[in-house]
Symmetry: D2
Subunit: 278 residues, 4 copies
């Protein structure tokens, strides 16, 4: 008995749930979990259907294509392991949490490689038997550096590229290579404190909460579709550095949760937003 | 165009989602939100289907009865206003929050009456033009008092009976009259601190969180199906009274949220647990 | 035995805690709770000292003035009831929570009056025997309207002016009349979503948290010192209106908590920030 | 300039803050943070004073001893690194979080060794260059096993013994060796679900929150002084295993926070409770 996930994203129409679940039933597939959402304003339908049974992918998808409205996107995903490439700079906490969760089997994913624009995290990565590549951006033109990164990333054919505190801005050219497949952790509760030094900004504003945001990367810095956010409470006694230290736990936990959601095929990108079936 | 909610609770079987949604489609009803859950261990299926359209209740339910397995329960509920009777003792915070939410239109419900075993909250209730009845339990036998309460409650034919800090234990005889229709707020994160004086117990144990639990009332004190729970953080500086004061906001918010969930037909009772579709 | 709170705000210097607590001891005052904070960057010292005993205010303050550095501010506050004027527009939830908490004795404060720029909330306020004044801003020049408000507010001599969802922007001229004494609730986790329609902005950005911020009002809209903030989680299924409905509970709770902190003399304004001793 | 922390725990008396801070001032020590708490019911005073300056420990403590009431305990602690021995069974998440935090410098502590009653976590520990000892409890008498553990622990002279998901109950004899120095993480929000399989218990009770509790170990299982607690929300869709998986993040974060609080000398044991200055 196999397990697969059917993801449907199409213009809204009457009877879609009935049609899709009927086709699954006809194929003798058991639905173990079904989630749907209709954006009525935009007339768009999203459904995630977790299925069990013996799959004939081609006929199943063929039947769906006949039933679904024009402009429908549908995918049938085997719940196999995805491959990641992680990009980092110097801070180990997000990287460390992902490494440890993979080691413990709590994230079912293969970390193909880690790329750092600084060498600092190489020793940690190598403890886990994972290749680490140091591609310095110093003294290299931005475009040339990104081309090196792209070449290296592509050599691993990852499903997703995870920016686990990668502290460089990516150009539209880079982002275009991996549309909808780059996930970043930003160390603020976006849209507050976009850009550099969010904890310093938070300290200066005197906020009573700090947070973190995991989002898909688009051309607009810190403006991509948000997957997951969380906050913790702080007070006047926190320096900017104290906020940064306290924020690390929420950063790593938000990134890990976002990653888990994406890996379990729970996240649809919908314009500049996400639909997330938890 | 009407709106109704179809609630299905039956033994699990293959194709249930397909069958039910198909019947809805056949009746030209639009599904605006569908939630389902299968308890695989116990082989039980739960589904809440929010529908829009023109309803022929008899034929719809007839079609469902033919499609659903033996032992199925299904209800088609018009999303009209429910009627409540509230029972209180002396503390105004939960009562006050419900009164204010109704006044503001945030809870779409009719409060038919409030019954207090003390007279203290009469003045507050009457500000809102709602009948208040003082039924003292002093100098009356427990059974006799409960019979008076039952008679009064029944004169209002409420859908639910809400114990908004009603500080008396109800007998099995009373509970049997309103099975699955009495909701209580207990001032601890159950199952911790069952019984009397939970804040005093929490103080003595030195816990770092306190909380509240809204649950259906069954014969076993504080053991009924839990609908909603939440906590807040406390520390060594809180006295038992300080915990009680701090806990009032979480009590009122947990009870209001539980009530909202029940009123929106989002809660199934499933043995000694609940299935809650948020 | 009286209870008072000593608030000290002065340039930092060695031995301040020793000096101040010594003077209290010399006056045979018992310290029941002491909190202090040093902003080392700015060299500023803040201390809140809760005292019990028999007070000779003049000699106590005289002794303190001799011991404290130049530029020190110190206040000895009897823990008596403060007077509030509330300003509202149409939404009842923040007003209602404050009214109910006062009624229940959970906020030890006198609500002298409520002023609305719309008449809608008059009936609610009057249930509680509190004067309500409708001062419409329609067809009146902004300055003239504010002068009417000031005149009315001043006739009540309140300690604080609480904007409990007052949906008009106040001019610098108005704010100058009540510097450090106007508290507003903004329906977002500032600095995100400054200005109008924060829930609409939050909906459009696709955030996964929404929140509320209580702050002192200064000339810069939504930029004053933050007293308290909190958030709740939302998802793709929330419309802007749904976010607004869900946000009301966090708005009212954040405003009530901020108000409680201010009333208990736990809040220092420190430039554009606050020091809050919880 | 050195930094030390003065911890005072004594019968309450008038003027204690003044006396202690005065002595510090006389010694030309700067107080960078002071926290105190009086348990008025039990007449006990607790103070944590963070100091900077040049210390003459003997004369400082001598001066304090003359000023403090009979029965006072006071300690002057250099803010140096503490030594830990960790005890584990099979689950890596709490261990992994502590290892990673130490590696990243986020926990300033020396992990002297890790002892496992199963061999599973040896490979992980050794990645970080820390000794791992497998002391199986199989086929050994309980007392004999504990004697082996004690001998091994003592060979490392740790300040604290951390039970990072050590799944065996310790005897009073063992606990007596390390009174107030053993910290355990229990996978429930105590006092709910004491004993074995708390997630299974939580699943069966149908709770809507699960949590974790870090506490000092005493002779009474899961009854020791609580240091830190937190919870997460769950729903009907979580199996007992799903709860366990979701709970791991809160377990590791509660244990790490408790450990940080203890290492920073913020925790007093007070009977069966703690006083924690955050």
């Amino acid at each position: 008995m196999e397990k697969k996930i059917l993801l449907t994203d199409c213009p809204d129409a009457k009877g879609l749930i009935a049609k899709i679940t009927n086709i699954c039933f006809k194929h003798q597939l058991n639905i173990t979990k079904n989630d749907e959402f209709v954006d009525r304003e935009q007339g768009r339908f999203f459904m995630r259907t977790a299925l069990e049974g013996n799959f004939n992918d081609a006929t199943l998808l063929g039947d769906l294509d006949m039933a679904l409205p024009q402009g429908a996107e549908r995918r049938l995903v085997a719940s196999g392991r995805k491959r990641l490439v992680l990009m980092v700079t110097r801070e180990p906490h997000c990287l460390g949490d992902i490494l440890m969760k993979c080691y413990a089997g709590a994230l079912d994913v293969e970390i193909a490689a880690v790329i750092g624009n600084h060498p600092d995290l190489g020793a940690l990565v190598e403890k886990f038997g994972i290749p680490f590549h140091h591609l310095s951006a110093e003294g290299v033109q931005r475009q040339q550096h990104e081309e090196q990164v792209i070449q290296l990333v592509d050599s691993y054919s990852p499903d997703y590229l995870i920016l686990a505190k990668y502290m460089r801005v990516l150009t539209p050219g880079f982002v275009a290579q991996y549309r909808g497949r780059i996930i970043n952790i930003h160390h603020s509760f976006l849209p507050a404190f976009i850009g550099a030094k969010p904890y310093q900004q938070a300290f200066e504003r005197g906020v009573k909460i700090i947070g973190a945001t995991a989002h898909f990367v688009t051309d607009d810095l810190d403006e991509g579709p948000i997957i997951e956010q969380d906050v913790i409470h702080v007070d006047h006694a926190y320096s900017a550095d104290g906020m940064a230290a306290a924020g690390r736990d929420v950063e790593k936990s938000v990134l890990s949760r976002a990653l888990q959601l994406v890996l379990q095929e729970r996240v649809f990108i919908h314009g500049n937003k996400t639909v997330v079936f938890k």
